[in-house]
Amino acid sequence: MSVAATHDERLARTWGDAGGLWGFITTVDHKRIAARYIVLTIALLVLDGLLAIDMRLQLAFPALKRLEAQGYNESFSLHGSAMMFLVSVPVMEAMAIWLVPLMLGQRNMAFPRLNAFSFWMYLGGVLMLWVPHLANVTPDLGWFEYPPLSGPGYSPGHRADIWAQMITFTEVAALAASVNTFVTIMRMRPPGMTLARMPLFLWAMLITSLMTIFALPAVMLVTSMLISDRLVATHFFDAAMGGDVVLFQHIFWFFGHPEVYIIFIPALGFVAAITETFCRRTVFGYVPLVLSLVAIGVLAFGLWVHHMFAVGLPKLGASFYTAASLVIAIPAGIQIFCYIATLWSGRPRFATPLMWVLAFIVTFVIGGLSGVMTASAPLDLQLTDTYFVVAHLHYVLIGGAMFPLFGAFAYWYPKATGRLLSEAWGKVAFWLIVGGFNLGFFPMHLLGLMGMPRRIYTYPVETGWQPLNILASVGAAIAGVGAAVFVGNALVSLWRGRTAGPNPWGGATLEWATSSPPPPHNFDQIPVVSDLTPLWRDERQVMEGLADDHRELLLTTAIEARPDYRQQSPDPSIWPLLTALAVSAMFVGSIFTPWALVWGALPIGAAVTGWFWPKRRT
């Protein structure tokens, strides 16, 4: 027994970080990196929520002047840009960074330093948007900044550059995280976890990481083209010189539409995990669920033009993309039916995480139906740029992604902190947020049908839009109170919550096999898996033999997950932070001068060399 304790202690020492600030900036522990990612995204979610409430206050009454047009433009641009690029995508990556190694029974991700680099770049993106905002240089053209409005002719100054470069930061972060997630899932599954025995959450993250890899280069490319039009007088989007503004839209939406699913598919992974645990049965229809996830991932790349129906494209193209957009309702529907079947045939326990799943099903179905409506080109011509679209996108993104995320938060909070959230306050927050959300956004469908355009800062009283707008604003305020309860619950439960123990919900996947919170090395031994729900078996199998005096991981084969070789895993390092600083300097500099790309490359080269320079092992 004492020998085993020594082994665990040595593992904890080997995988632990230095204390203090140095430990904080050099850590490559996936749990710590994910935790700071998640805390930052939640802080921004709150900030963006406050912006939303501010806008709802403005629109509650007609002809209000408290926010002028410019202030309103900045508010919705900040809200949309931050929500899409700094909250929704990063928080899903962060959940993967935290959960994937735990669900794989692993001690870290494939590339721990790349993980640290990803976070620092993300932090750079956050600062890129919010620091200039404090200096009153705020992007003001919405979350997709179309030229020619964002081009050099109509947007002098640096507002558009800041938006474009914020995207570069966050996309570098997201791509780094995605490659890491992809390789970790492909090569670091525990022995026995063949692809066919992989939890649905891991399938969801595998597909998401591949989608990110194929979608995000588009937005990096197009924003770089925009910056170069603005900085060095290229003419990609300048019609007078042979350029074309619609090209921007094509490339942007080639990224923009998959992005919606990059946010949504991880949420389906949360739904699968929560539904399984709280229905106390394996999820109904594993194979159709996996296939429909793959189908969503593929189809998502063939829909982008439905964001451009009003641009004046050839009719045949519009018809094709209408059909393609309708087709994606089929795999999305399969998902919903499978979860309903699981609920129907299981023994559901309606704890807060499952409540969020129910809210997801209802809200996402409404959002999906309004999506089928807007996917139809003729109807879209009437609805585009109205509040109907605002309602639709919030039903899909909040209902489809944020509700499952809140459920995931409640579900895995005890694993991360060792304590349970208060169920009672969790339910209060749930009803306030879900009720407030529906009260806030459902009327927007009607406002859109009545013709209220999106992105207006005020409206005259004669329009008759006031009553529904007041309703929407009251709903937003109620949801805001709910959010405060949710965050308050999370903070108070940190020291007042009941002790959770390793597996408070009786979950079946490997993350519940270790203590809560997990030790630095996550698992003392290598778990071996023989079915989809390893923790529901009466026996537990493990492998041994990894070093405990230096960081070592087990790699397995890509399909069958057979033990392959032992991989050294890097120690904590300052180089990811230094590299991120060097890259940040180049990105910020390149807003002002193209020479930043040349001179900025030198410190990056130096930092990357330091990063990869092999350490002598004694």
Partner: protein, 205 residues
């Protein structure tokens, strides 16, 4: 909630190797991931070029002769030939042979420098500037995108070289050399469609 059943030890991994080469190695997969990202960027940039071509009545727009063929052809030939030492280097890295690997790294570094020098001259023979019109912008975008990749791999090769000349080469560094060769093959392959677009697009499209 439920206590875990006691664990049965069913295997010991301490006898497994501690490095792997090629598609078995972790870094190979990471390299693959970044190739997919960069390959997508190349494809989209090429699509943008073709899209802009579709919007124009003549290509290149009047006033620009197409890029001179000589330097582009020279670059392409040397790049393609560089695959021979590159594959040889990969094989020697796989076989973990120190001297040939050191020689191969030097050869690949020299080839990279020569190619970058030609690339530098190529920019002067494109017969269009990036700020002339959208054709010029698209041409320069493709060329810079690819030049960045040549330069990145050159830097990687030089640093690897510095590393393996100053110390005994470990198995994981042999693996790094192998992955670096893998990446160079990607740089070679991606050039072919870009070469076709930049040099033959203005003549044939």
């Amino acid at each position: 909630m439920s206590a875990q059943p006691p664990a049965t030890v069913v295997g010991d991994v301490s006898g497994l190797p501690d490095t792997a080469m090629g598609p078995r190695s972790l870094v190979w997969w990471g390299t693959l991931g970044f190739m997919l990202i960069e390959g997508t960027a190349f494809l989209l940039a090429a699509a943008a070029y073709l899209y802009l071509r579709g919007q124009a009545t003549t290509w290149p727009p009047s006033g620009h002769p197409p890029p001179d063929l000589t330097l582009g052809a020279l670059f392409t030939v040397i790049l393609l030939l560089s695959e021979i030492p590159n594959r040889w280097l990969a094989a020697k890295a796989k076989a973990q042979e120190t001297r040939p690997v050191r020689l191969g790294i030097v050869v690949m570094s020299v080839l990279g420098i020569v190619l970058m020098a030609i690339r530098y001259l190529e920019f002067g023979r494109l017969n269009v500037n990036w700020d002339h019109d959208a054709y010029g912008s698209a041409t320069w975008m493709l060329m810079i995108l690819h030049a960045t990749h040549v330069l990145t791999d050159l830097a990687d090769t030089v640093v690897l070289g510095a590393c393996i000349f100053t110390r005994k080469i470990t198995a994981s560094q042999f693996s790094d050399v192998n992955d670096n060769s893998f990446y160079w093959s990607f740089v070679v392959l991606t050039w072919l469609p870009i070469y076709a677009l930049v040099y033959w697009g203005p003549r044939l499209l």
